[in-house]
Symmetry: C2
Subunit: 663 residues, 2 copies
Amino acid sequence: MTEQKLSDTSAAPGVQTIQASGPSGLHGSAGPVAPGPGAVAALWPLRLHHARLDPDGLLGRWQRRNAEETLPHCVDNLHRAGNIGNLRAAAGESDEAFAGMWFADSDVHKTLEAAAWELGTSSGDGALRSFVEDTTALLARAQQADGYLNSYFTVAAPDERWRKPDWSHELYCAGHLFQAAVAAARTGVSPGLVAVAQRFADLLVERFGPGGVEEVCGHPEIETALAELYRLTGRRPYLDLARRFLDLRGRGLLGHGRFGPAYYQDHVPVREAREVTGHSVRQLYLLAGMVDVAVETGDLALLDAAERLWADAFHRRTYVTGAHGSRHREEAYGDPYELPPDRAYGETCAAIASFQWNWRLLLATGRARYADEMERVLYNAFAAAVSSDGRHFFYSNPLQVRTGHASSGEEATASRLPWYSCACCPPNIARLMASLHGYLATADDEGVQIHLYASGSVNAEVAGAAARVDLRTGYPWHGRIELTVTSETRTPWTLALRVPSWCDAYKVLIDGGPVMAPAKDGYVRLTRAWAPGTTVVLDLEMPVRQVTAHPRVDAVRGCVALARGPLVYCLEQADLPPGTVLEDVRLDPAAEMTAAHREDLPDIPVVITAGGLVAHAGDSLYTAGARRERTGTPLTLTAVPYFLWGNRSEGPMRVWIPVAATE
Amino acid sequence: MTEQKLSDTSAAPGVQTIQASGPSGLHGSAGPVAPGPGAVAALWPLRLHHARLDPDGLLGRWQRRNAEETLPHCVDNLHRAGNIGNLRAAAGESDEAFAGMWFADSDVHKTLEAAAWELGTSSGDGALRSFVEDTTALLARAQQADGYLNSYFTVAAPDERWRKPDWSHELYCAGHLFQAAVAAARTGVSPGLVAVAQRFADLLVERFGPGGVEEVCGHPEIETALAELYRLTGRRPYLDLARRFLDLRGRGLLGHGRFGPAYYQDHVPVREAREVTGHSVRQLYLLAGMVDVAVETGDLALLDAAERLWADAFHRRTYVTGAHGSRHREEAYGDPYELPPDRAYGETCAAIASFQWNWRLLLATGRARYADEMERVLYNAFAAAVSSDGRHFFYSNPLQVRTGHASSGEEATASRLPWYSCACCPPNIARLMASLHGYLATADDEGVQIHLYASGSVNAEVAGAAARVDLRTGYPWHGRIELTVTSETRTPWTLALRVPSWCDAYKVLIDGGPVMAPAKDGYVRLTRAWAPGTTVVLDLEMPVRQVTAHPRVDAVRGCVALARGPLVYCLEQADLPPGTVLEDVRLDPAAEMTAAHREDLPDIPVVITAGGLVAHAGDSLYTAGARRERTGTPLTLTAVPYFLWGNRSEGPMRVWIPVAATE
C-alpha cells in the first residue's frame, strides 16, 4: 500500500466555493469515490470526464440505454409512485397521504445521483436537467428548519423521528441524499444540493457526534456517504461521525430485532467480525464505509477487517455470477457454501454494493482480485438485473428458475418488472450505469492502470503530464483489446493492463510485434516513454470454460457452469425443443463446445453450442439403490449469456448444468 | 371405496346428551377423525380405548414421555407466556395486557385437546385434569354473550373483530377450540367444552352461513374442525358451513396480501387446484378439511382434488423425512423438486398436518400409500421435532446443518428450544402424541387392518363381534412383528397387515409355520376363523438402503440417504473425528454397511456403520475444468436415526451424503 497525492487541484466551475473550503485534489470533477489527498490508497481514480465509453461498445451501449430509457423511466415512476408527492407534502405544498415505503426518499436521492453523473458526462436532455433542478429546490423546501429532511417522518410519523434507529432508515436516506449531493457537486450539475446536504449533516453531527446520542442506523449507508461528503467539503466532523458510527456498531445498540443483531451487523464490533452476516446489502454498504473511513483515517485495522470479510464473502458465499445473498428470508447471506441457485436471493442492490466495495478495496490496495470481482458482478449479476429495453428490472437474481416456478412475493419474480413497491434497485442501477466510465482505469505518478476493458478512452495525468489512451475492443465478446497511446510524454510511464483471473493464456503486441509481458499480481505492466500513435494489443484467449464449484457447495454437485471470458452462460427454455423439460437436460462433458455468433439468434453476439442429452428417470421421488437414468435423446445445447436471460420469454433457466454420467 | 356403517352406538357416559342428538356411530368414544355413519369411507377407525400402546415400545415410550414431560411443559408455558392470562383478561378477571401472538388462544386449545386425548386414555394425573377443568371454565367465562371467543380480539383489538379475515386467525382459533371440544367430548374428559364450542359455532353459522357474509379465513383449520363438530353433534349446519368455506375459497375473497393469494390457497377454487402452494400448514389443514367434507357429503370431486394434490405433494415436494415446506420465507412449498436439505423449512406443524391428512385419505380410500406416508413422517420429520427429554422442540426441521451455521430467526435454530414466541408446534406435537394409538389400526365388517406397527393391542369389532389382537415388536428397530389373536370369533375375518413400501422382502408365519401371503395393494390379508392364541409373525427384512432422489431434485445430486426400515439416518458432527469437516465427508458406496447396536452409543438401538473417506478440494470457490478431489483419509461413518439428531450436541448434521467418485 502506497500513499500518494495527486497534484491537480482544479475544480469544476460549479463547486468553487466548496472546493475552496475542502481538501485539494480531484474532488471538483471526481466520480464516485474520491480519496482525499491525505488518504492511504494504492490507486487513484480519474476525473470522471477523463474516461469515456464509446457508444458502440457494450458498456457504452448500456450507459446510453441508461440515459435514454432507465433514467427517464425512473423519473416517471418517482412521480407515479408518489415519491415526489411525499416531498411536496413535506414541503407543505400538498396534503396527499404519504405513499410507498417509509424510506421512499432514498429512491429520489439515488435517481438524483444517477442524473448528476449522467448530466456531468453527456450534454443530457432538458427534462433530466429540469428534474434535477426542480427536485433540488423541492428538497430544499422540504427540509425542516433544523436541517432534518425525511418526508415520511415529516408527513406521516412526526412523533417517530429518531425513535426507531433499527427500523427507520432515516440515516440511510440521509446517506443517499449526501451521495446525490456529492455527485451533483463533483459534476457541477446542481451544486445547491450540497447546502441541503450539509445542513442535514450538521444536524447529524450535533445529534450523533461526540457527546451526542450513541446510536447507529439499522441500514448502513450513512458511513460511506459521510466519508464522501467529507471528501467533497473537507468538513472533518463528517468523517469523524462516519468513524463513530462504525465504532458504535456491534455493541447491541440496535437491539435484537426480529432477526437478531447479526441481521444488521450489530452482533460484533466491525473490526472483530470474521464473517459477513445478515442482510447482504446492509453488510456490503457497511463494508464500503469501512474502507472509506480506513483510507481517510489511516486506520489499517479497519481495512484489514474489510479484507478479511472479503475473503469470507468471496471464498465461501458468492455466486458464480457475483451475486450475494443466498436467502430470500431476511435478504441475507447464508451459511458458508450455502449457495442454492434456485433459491438465490442475489439482490440487485447487493451486486451494486459489491461492485462499489470492490472498487474501494482496489483503490486502497491495488490488488487485482478486487477488479476481477468487479468484472464478474458487472457482467453477470448486475447486468442481468436490467432488461434489454432498459425499463424492466429484477430485484432478485436467481441462477435457476425451475419448470413450474411460481413466484410469490414480487421480489422473487421470474420476469423483470417495471417497478417495485420497494424500488431500491432500479435507481441504484441507474446511478452505477451513469458513472460506469469512472471505474475503467486509475492513475498514479507511475502510470495508468486499466481495470475494465471497453471501447472508449482514458485521459489521465501521470506526474503532471497527460497520458491518453484510446481503447478499441469487442470485449466481452472477444478478448482482443487494442490500445493506442495518443499523448506524448517525455518521461517513461507504465501502462498496466489487468489480465483477468479467468484468463490462462494471452498475447501482448506493441506496434504489431509480440513482446514478453508476464503478468505480475494480475497486471501486465508495460513501461516506456510512449510516443503518440503507439499501439498495444492485449489478446486474451477466451475458450469456453466448464466451471465447477467447490464440492462443499452441495447445491451444484455434479454440475458445471459454462463461461467464456467474463460472461457466465445459461440454458433457457426458449432454446429447447418443445416438450423438453429443462431439469432433464444433461451436458455431455466430452462433446465439443463452440462459441460463435449464430444467425438464428441475431441479438446475441456469441452463443455457446454444446453436446447434451435428455435424461429420463421415472416418476418416483425416492428409490432405494442407484437410479440409472435412461440417457435418451441426444440434444444440441444452446447457452446464452446469463445477463440476457428472460428477455425472450419467461421460461425456465439454469446456469448450473448437470453433467451426464460418463460410463 | 365402500360405504359402510358401524353398528355400535354406545357412547361414553359424559356425552350422552350430545350423542342423543347426533348421528349414531362411534362418536362417543372415537379418536381424532370419526366419519359419521353416512360417510363415504373405505376404512373405519377404532374407538380410541380399543387400541393401546405398550410403554416398552418406541411409540408407547413416546406417548408416555408426552404425558409425563411434554404436556406438563406445555401447560407451564401457557401460564408463563401469558396465554392463560389473555383468557383471564378476556373474562374480565385481570387487566394484564395481551401477551404473545394474536392467535395465542390456539395454543391453549391444542393443549386442551392433547390433555383430553391423554386423560381419555390413561388415568392421567390430577394436575392435568385440573388444567382441563379450570381452562374449560375459564373459556366459558371468556366467551362473549353472543358466543364469540377470542382473547386477542376481545382484549387487545375489539374494533378489529371480523375485520381482517386474511390475517386475524379468528376462525383458525375457533377451529382449534372445536377440535379440543370434540376430543373432550369423545373421551368424556370435559363434556362442558362442547357447549362453549357450539355457542361459538352457532354464531359462525349465523354470520358466515347461507345468506351471511362471504368470507374465508386466511389460515384454514375451521373446515376440518366444523366437520368434526358436526360428526360429534349431528348439527348439519356445521358441515354445511365447512363446505361453504371450501366453496368460497379461490375467489380472491382474501385479497392479494403480502405474498399473493396462493400463499393462503385462495388463488383457485379448491376443486380446480392442481398444485399444493403457499404456506404448507395452511395448505395441509385445508386438504384435511376437504377430505372430511368430501366423505361426509359424498362429494367425490372434492376427494379427487385432494388425491390429485396428494400426488403433487408426494411425488414432487416432500422431503425424504416426510417434511413439507422448502422455504423459510412464507413457510411455503417450493417449486416442483425444489427440496434443498439445508434450507428446508419443514415446519413441525406441517409434519403433523401431513400425518392427519394422510390418515383421512387412508380412511376415505383404504390406499396403502397414505399409511406409508404416515409412517415416513411419523418416524422422521415429526419425531425429530421433540428432544429426547420431551421438553425441547424444533419449529423447522432441516435435513442438513452446515459447519458454521448461524441461525437467525428462532424458527431456523439448529437446536431445539423449550418454547417459541409463535408456539404452534409444541402443543400440536402433544395432541398427536396423545392420540397416537388412534392411528394404529382400522376395522370394518370384514376384519381388522393394521397400518402402523408397535407393541400394544387392538380390540376391534368385526360384524358385531370382538376381534382382539396383541402385538409384540421391536419395530422400527427390527422388522419382526408378532401378533396374537386373543378373541374368538365364529365367523372368519381378515387380518390385513401393511407391507411398507420400503420393504422388498418379508415372511409370514402362522402358528410358526410359513404361509404364502402375497401382498396386494400394500397389505397381506389373512382370512380365517381365528382361534384365540393363534400367532402371526410378519417378518419384514430391513437391510440398510441407499436412497436416491429423483434427478430433478438438484439439491441432492450425487448423494444418497441411508435408511433402514421406516427410519432415515443422518451423519452428525458428534460422530466424526475432531477436526473433520462434515461437508468433506464422502460415502464409499461399495464398502460394506452394517446396522447394529453399538456399545459406544448405548442410547441408540441401531446404528449404521459404513465406509467413507474425507475429501480435500482446496480453497477456490470456482475453478475451470474438472476439479479432482484428493480422496484422503479413509473414515468409518457412523449414521444415527435422523429423529435423534441434535440430542448429543448442536453440531453439523446431514441426511444426504455425497458419494465418493468411483474411478
